[in-house]
Symmetry: C2
Subunit: 301 residues, 2 copies
């Protein structure tokens, strides 16, 4: 794995830089009094994050020789949706967070009303980007992207998961393993799955290949979540660059809390192996996706 890691980290940072540049172009500043809205959108969409969703789009698209322009536009749309969800989750009425990626959250840097609007606008703009002809010459490809991405982020996907999370915080009994799994599948899993699927759709992949990539992303996302919970429970805040031990403090149900560290680690390893197995039908070009799976549990922040 030491052989693979440097090239993965290089690929991740190269992709992040490309995505940053593409977001800059797709979120131009406006003149006039609404400039503040565009500033607020750019503040949260740009300048940070692992860009894991974007990376999945790009690497899935690579399997099918998709043009870099197409893949980058879809990668940016996914990051806009991810960013909007974070802006709204951070609001006082939701998680009430003051910091995100080491800087003030959107409603702290601007104000609540602007943050609500910026989130709404980022979601909306993601669909505009997907719908525009530059994303793919074939309208059938573009509308399939809108269909799968809107489903994954809507009430039967990410928004539904956020609702489950809110209900869980008010619940009297702790969630069991199945309920935690369902919550995480909806809240973060669906968007990770659809990122891989979107790259495949751009490449007009067959259903079997789409299914393999979605299954890979599902296991990857689940492993990543467990690894995150393990890091939250074990690593110092300084190393992570954000508050840790927060989940346990907030009484949030995690698999680590339910299974204990050791069994959680084993489960994450099993998921990584399973994720890679879904890529058996793909050649060397999928090596970066394999390395990403290994990285989810090897990382230290």
């Amino acid at each position: 794995m030491n052989v693979v890691m440097p090239s993965l980290s290089q690929a991740l940072s190269d992709a992040a830089a490309e995505v940053e540049q593409a977001l800059d172009a797709l979120l131009p500043m406006a003149e006039g009094d609404e400039a503040r809205l565009f500033e607020s959108m750019r503040y949260s969409a740009m300048g940070g994050g692992k860009r894991m969703r974007a990376f999945l789009v790009l690497e899935a698209a690579r399997q099918f020789n998709v043009s870099r322009t197409s893949a980058l536009r879809v990668a940016c749309a996914m990051e806009m949706i991810h960013a909007y969800s974070l802006v709204h989750d951070d609001l006082p009425a939701m998680d009430n967070d003051d910091l995100r990626r080491g800087k003030p959250t959107n409603h702290k840097a601007f104000d609540e009303a602007t943050a609500i609007l910026a989130g709404d606008s980022l979601q909306c703009h993601a669909f505009t980007v997907l719908a525009e002809e530059d994303t793919h010459p074939d309208p059938a490809v573009r509308i399939e992207l809108v269909r799968i991405i809107s489903r994954a982020s809507g009430p039967r996907g990410m928004c539904g998961g956020q609702m489950l999370d809110m209900m869980a915080e008010q619940a009297t009994a702790p969630l069991d393993e199945a309920a935690i799994g369902r919550l995480q599948t909806l809240k973060t899993g669906k968007l990770i799955e659809v990122s891989a699927d979107a790259g495949a759709v751009l490449g007009k992949a067959g259903l079997a290949q789409r299914h393999a990539l979605v299954s890979y992303a599902r296991d990857l996302g689940a492993a990543f979540q467990i690894a995150d919970d393990i890091l939250d429970a074990t690593v110092s805040a300084e190393e992570m660059g954000k508050a840790t031990g927060k989940d346990a403090g907030a009484g949030k149900a995690t698999l680590v809390g339910l299974l204990g560290l050791e069994r959680a680690r084993l489960q994450a390893e099993r998921l990584v192996a399973q994720a890679k197995a879904h890529l058996d039908g793909f050649g060397d070009r999928a090596d970066m996706l394999r390395a990403l799976a290994d990285y989810t549990i090897a990382r230290r922040h």
Copy 2:
């Protein structure tokens, strides 16, 4: 006009009933803990409003023999977007309204976090509905709908208008006529224009016909806005079924405040005549759209 009005009001209430039924089918309840999210979405999308955006989709689509199923799905998507914008506008951080259409606003009936999520979900679900094959067999039509509707409701449309409105409330100098016009065009005009355009897109109308219907809707929307401001300034709250005199009280810039009642009335009449002139190329089938234009300034609530 007395001859036309009964049939317009019948058509409006028939359309509203059809839209209600279609929304019921497009927003099915979910099982499980996320049921509250679906309840909240249904609470705000269903059971009220003039359904003017839906009516414009349906009547524009009628010009081109569009199937009723297609037209109704797009009408519902427009109403979901309109509903989401109201849910978010009513939030404490925005307009902080407790009542909407005579019942508690979404965040009063549920809670703030649920209202934010329900708004997010309604926006997202509108795009899912547009993207699904049942909306139109041709993917090029469906993606054009997503493109124009996302543009009209995003940062260069409705969301941008809401930002302008917020900035205007903090401004030291009152807005001039051009600034008020721009604010209203973005905040409410774009969505009304795109409703008519969407009906035309469903019918694969040519650019000239699309342009005529968009121009009609632009003038209709502007006339409607002035008429609303006139009613707000002159009619008792009891007659309107909502608080009136609120705009003047809140120091909100309106054309009525700027031009005075008489000149505002004349301008609304001019806009209605202009709206109808855009329909000159359409036959009898556009009579309902003509009647709707007359109605905007004839209505008493």
